[in-house]
Symmetry: C2
Subunit: 470 residues, 2 copies
């Protein structure tokens, strides 16, 4: 009996001491990650080049190809174990000449705020399109109005993002159906075009583009779709109150080409213990064309590159193989993400963890996860390690679009969650530029990511441990 | 025995139910505070006026007086129980003509980045001052160098803010002795002037002003002090490596006048149960003169006003008297804060809680507190109420300069803690302007403050409860 008690006590004390030792070791390593990022980070310089020397990187564009070349060359410099390009066919859509819009306030016209074509939209006829507007706040409202009220008109979707939601991505999610499906739905009732209020919480003059779908609408029934700035939408709405029958004119000559060849850019540090088990960090290399894509998703690209650079810099040799993947074509096709997952499956590459940064380069607040309860418990046990860095948010719910296709039983998917309040001021607009990036905020994101990858590398995923035990 | 168990169980269940009910009530009220702030906030409009219609509000300036008039008028509009001005004498210092600097790289001169006089500095002689530079990284280094190396020279303080600290205020605290005491210390060794690296973590071209002291240095031995931008400081340092004997020239014609009359602006909602117990929210109305003082501390001013407006708007009638105090002269004298505390003491006004917002208008992360353990435990019990709003940081350590003089046994002092990463890009510089403010971030700060005030109003401070019980 006495011996049993002594044994239990010893085991308890030993495990307590071990936990303390691990905590100290982990704290020290994480501190060295942060110090290296903040004192000697590379992500800001990389992003400066991507944003200012290259610029907007829409899939299939010359700039997107330049970005592939540039990031591959930079990864080559890091002394990783492997760096390669993964070919992937991507859509090619070009905006063409600057869009133009006015309203008829006869006699004569009144110029209105900037508009922009939605990504993937068909052009207007060469001389533009002019029709009466009908303002709606939801797709459902179309059915209520019916063909009678809609036919021959331009549907104006004007439901604003909900400002009282704290997470602005939630507000985006509650609004983006207007942009994504608005044209497809309006065409069913005979609308000739759509104009959509920009997905932006701020009142400003910048139109925000973004992807849209025509679904299986026959080619000859596809109608042009543009976005108007939030100020422009408010203006249009108030003008309609004065002149309900006013005509709206716009012109855009965007064009869709055949798919073209592009690439995911991949770098790897091969694991010392489990070289055939993969942990992935990534962002997407393509961006929309209006700004230079600094926040969406230049930030995620350079932060992901920085994770591997930090490991090299501090001399950390991961047990698992760690890959950085710079995905092509997140914005209008997700071809890169799909291709990567497809090949990983073909080659039977076992991915146990994937982390994406695609929510802007602002101060990191934490991570969201797509994982089971056992893994989430483990993540929660790491909270005290992140607290000194003001990383507090650990929640289930979503990771990243590009890593979504990797989802299968047991894999842990995660997304970096930066502060979201300013994000939609910049998202998909001409305001997504390098001057809106703060160096420290960007670096803190890369450091937070590297710290999480380090912890998963050290302790494994719970699923992995279970499968090892079995 | 059985009865005792039943009683204990019932008491336990009852207290559990009560806790649940309180939590629900508090959650609902806090939600209405946030919704009102985000959907119908007033702070952004107020700040727009303060920043763009009035501008920089250095103590004793015409603009500072305009700001007093404007904020009093706005408080008058809110239907508070009392609004008044509290007279206070403040220092008056003016910058005068734009400062100018160059280095002699003979033959001829090389213009260098902008400099600015430190607040309170004496001017240079009318024709400027020119001397050799001696670069140091600390006040201690002066003693090592001694009078021999320093006499007749301009001391160039060039210790940067420490970038690997997560809390940028800590980095500021570790550097600001150069600005505050640099001239006073250098004068002791016969220096003729000082130039100080700006307190800024970012590499840019903007000099940052701020307060300095001459201590008891006799008037005729006071030497002029200016700040140089971080880029300028790096340039100067590298130029010194090439030309160690180079001459630095600068000219500034700032001037100190006699003290002038100014005012704290105060508004009050009188408490329904404890009208003679006061809870205070505040920020400082004065700012430096280079920018328009949007972050420092226009944000704190309008957020504090917003706390009382939100209470009126949602129909919340506080039990304690709640005062908003817009302090004058935080930047170069703290006269407003001292005067308020002095009068409160004279009138025997019992203050139980004071909260200041003076750390910028960025996304609020939490609060820091100056309080005893019992009160801190209570604050920590409120964490779950703040989590939906991503307010995670509750720590001991500091509150705000203006409310500091109120400190006495039992009072709870608190400071709003916004994200600090970008703050010193703007602090005391021409970059502290309204365009660097995000409406939502600003509004979230006011809502977080109102929520904390509501909780202290509802549950009291622990000290208060103890004194009631006794």
């Amino acid at each position: 009996m006495k011996r049993t008690i002594i044994t239990i006590t010893l085991v308890f004390v030993a495990s307590l001491l071990q936990a303390q030792t691990s905590f100290k070791k982990d704290s020290t390593l994480i501190k060295s990650i942060y110090n290296t990022a903040l004192l000697n980070g590379k992500s800001y310089d990389w992003l400066d080049h991507l944003s200012n020397e290259i610029g907007g990187r829409l899939s299939g564009s010359f700039n997107a190809n330049k970005a592939v070349k540039y990031t591959k060359a930079e990864l080559d410099e890091l002394g990783l174990d492997k760096v390669w390009l993964q070919p992937v066919m991507v859509p090619k859509w070009t905006r063409g000449q600057k869009e133009y819009a006015y309203i008829e306030t006869g006699p004569g016209q009144t110029s209105i705020a900037d508009i922009c074509a939605l990504g993937g939209s068909v052009p207007t006829p060469k001389l533009g399109i002019k029709a009466q507007l009908i303002e709606v706040t939801s797709l459902d409202e179309l059915a209520t109005l019916g063909r009678e009220k809609i036919e021959g008109k331009i549907v104006f979707y004007n439901r604003p993002m909900q400002a009282d939601l704290i997470n602005t991505f939630e507000a985006y999610g509650g609004c983006v159906d207007q942009r994504y499906s608005g044209a497809m739905e309006a065409a069913k009732y005979g609308a000739v075009a759509v104009v959509v209020r920009s997905m932006n919480l701020r009142a400003d003059d910048f139109p925000h583009t973004g992807s849209m779908t025509y679904g299986d609408t026959p080619v000859d029934q596809r109608i042009p779709a543009c976005a108007i700035s939030t100020n422009g939408a408010n203006y249009l709405s108030s003008a309609l109150k004065i002149l309900p029958s006013l005509y709206f004119y716009f012109k855009q000559n965007c064009k869709t080409y055949d798919d073209v060849l592009s690439h995911n850019v991949i770098g790897e540090i091969t694991g010392t213990e489990f070289p055939d088990k993969y942990m992935l960090v990534g962002g997407h290399l393509d961006s929309w064309d209006l700004g230079d894509g600094s926040h969406d998703d230049g930030a995620g690209v350079v932060q992901s590159m920085e994770v591997l650079r930090l490991f090299k810099e501090i001399g950390y040799k991961p047990k698992h193989s760690i890959r950085v993947v710079l995905f092509m074509n997140e914005e209008n096709g997700l071809r890169g993400g799909k291709k990567y997952a497809e090949e990983a499956k073909l080659k039977n590459e076992k991915h146990i963890f994937a982390l994406e940064s695609d929510a802007g380069g602002f101060t990191p607040r934490g991570f969201s996860f797509d994982l089971d309860e056992a893994n989430f418990k483990q993540v929660e046990s790491w909270k005290p390690l992140f607290e000194p860095y003001l990383i507090h948010y650990f929640a289930k719910g979503g990771s990243g679009a590009d890593i979504g296709p990797l989802k299968e039983e047991g894999i842990v998917l995660a997304g970096l969650r930066p502060d979201s309040q300013r994000y939609f001021d910049h998202h998909h607009a001409a305001t997504d530029t390098f001057d809106a990036i703060n160096k420290r905020e960007l670096e803190l994101g890369g450091a937070a990511m590297a710290s999480l990858v380090y912890l998963f590398d050290t302790y494994g995923t719970k699923t992995e441990l279970t499968s090892i035990k079995n």
